[in-house]
């Protein structure tokens, strides 16, 4: 396999921003999960 070319500074910054954004998105999904979980504990389903 050939060696990977070095990543440019712009790509590095772009990737970091995308990862931060993904953490935010997963945070939103986890928040929805926690809201549902809270319902699970208090509701009599």
């Amino acid at each position: 396999m050939t060696a990977k070319p070095p990543m440019s500074e712009q790509d590095r910054r772009r990737r970091r921003a995308l990862i931060v954004f993904q953490i935010f998105v997963y945070g939103c999904l986890i928040a929805m999960f926690l809201i549902q979980l809270q319902m699970l504990f208090v509701k009599e389903w």
Partner: protein, 224 residues
């Protein structure tokens, strides 16, 4: 590895790639049917094994990350399309009325309460039908087409993978926000509320994991 001419190397690489792809395609089609998934997985794994072998033999084959992302996106779209396609076009078939409502009763009331009671049939949960239609008419066909172009290492395939992965993010954020707004109704009376649903669906709602890779991969490896 014995030394070989450039032409021979290209021929060998193409043959190895084709051989591996044959296994990968058959495996993905089998897994895409959902019920034949256990048969498809070993077939798919053999394709991955052949690709790895070709790679370590020094042949020029498609990068492993491109292969995995491309096939997983096709698989994700195919599995979803089958289930939701049945819900729209075959919601009065015996298999749909029994399996879907049984599954709904198990973990998702959206597929149990008032099933087949709207004018359009199928799932009757608020907003559910809109998400189903936009996904199987727009998102999933777009996703499969993009992934095929991506696996062929075409420029448009890479560009459309970025579009469809962002679309996937919007679709799943919207879907989960929607169902959480009335989750107290949707989970009422089901056997495994919340935990059952999340365990089952967590694998579907993560196709946007590929976004950072798609934005930072060397664009020059995809040709016009």
């Amino acid at each position: 590895m014995t030394s070989m001419t450039l032409d021979l190397h290209e021929d060998e690489s193409r043959r190895a790639q084709k051989g591996a792809d044959r296994w990968l395609i058959v495996g993905t089609i089998l897994m895409g049917t959902l019920v034949l998934g256990p048969l498809g997985l070993p077939v798919f794994c053999r394709g991955i094994y052949l690709l790895r072998k070709a790679q370590s033999a020094g042949l020029s084959v498609r990068p492993m990350m491109v292969t995995l992302i491309g096939y997983v996106i096709i698989l994700d779209a195919a599995i979803n399309s089958i289930g939701w396609g049945l819900d729209i076009f075959a919601n009065h078939a015996l298999i749909t009325r029994t399996i879907f409502t049984a599954w709904g009763n198990l973990m998702d009331g959206g597929y149990f309460w008032h099933y087949n009671e709207l004018w359009i049939g199928g799932a009757g949960a608020p907003g559910e039908k809109a998400w189903i239609i936009v996904c199987i008419v727009v998102v999933f066909p777009m996703r499969i087409a993009a992934a095929i172009g991506f696996l062929q290492m075409r420029r448009w395939g890479h560009q459309w993978m970025i579009v469809t992965c962002w679309f996937g993010l919007i679709a799943w954020m919207g879907y989960i926000l929607n169902m959480t707004m009335y989750a107290d109704v949707r989970y009422a009376g089901v056997a495994f509320p919340v935990l059952g649903w999340w365990l089952y669906n967590i694998f579907y709602i993560t196709p946007f994991l590929a976004i950072p890779y798609l934005h930072t991969v060397n664009r020059e490896i995809f040709s016009d």
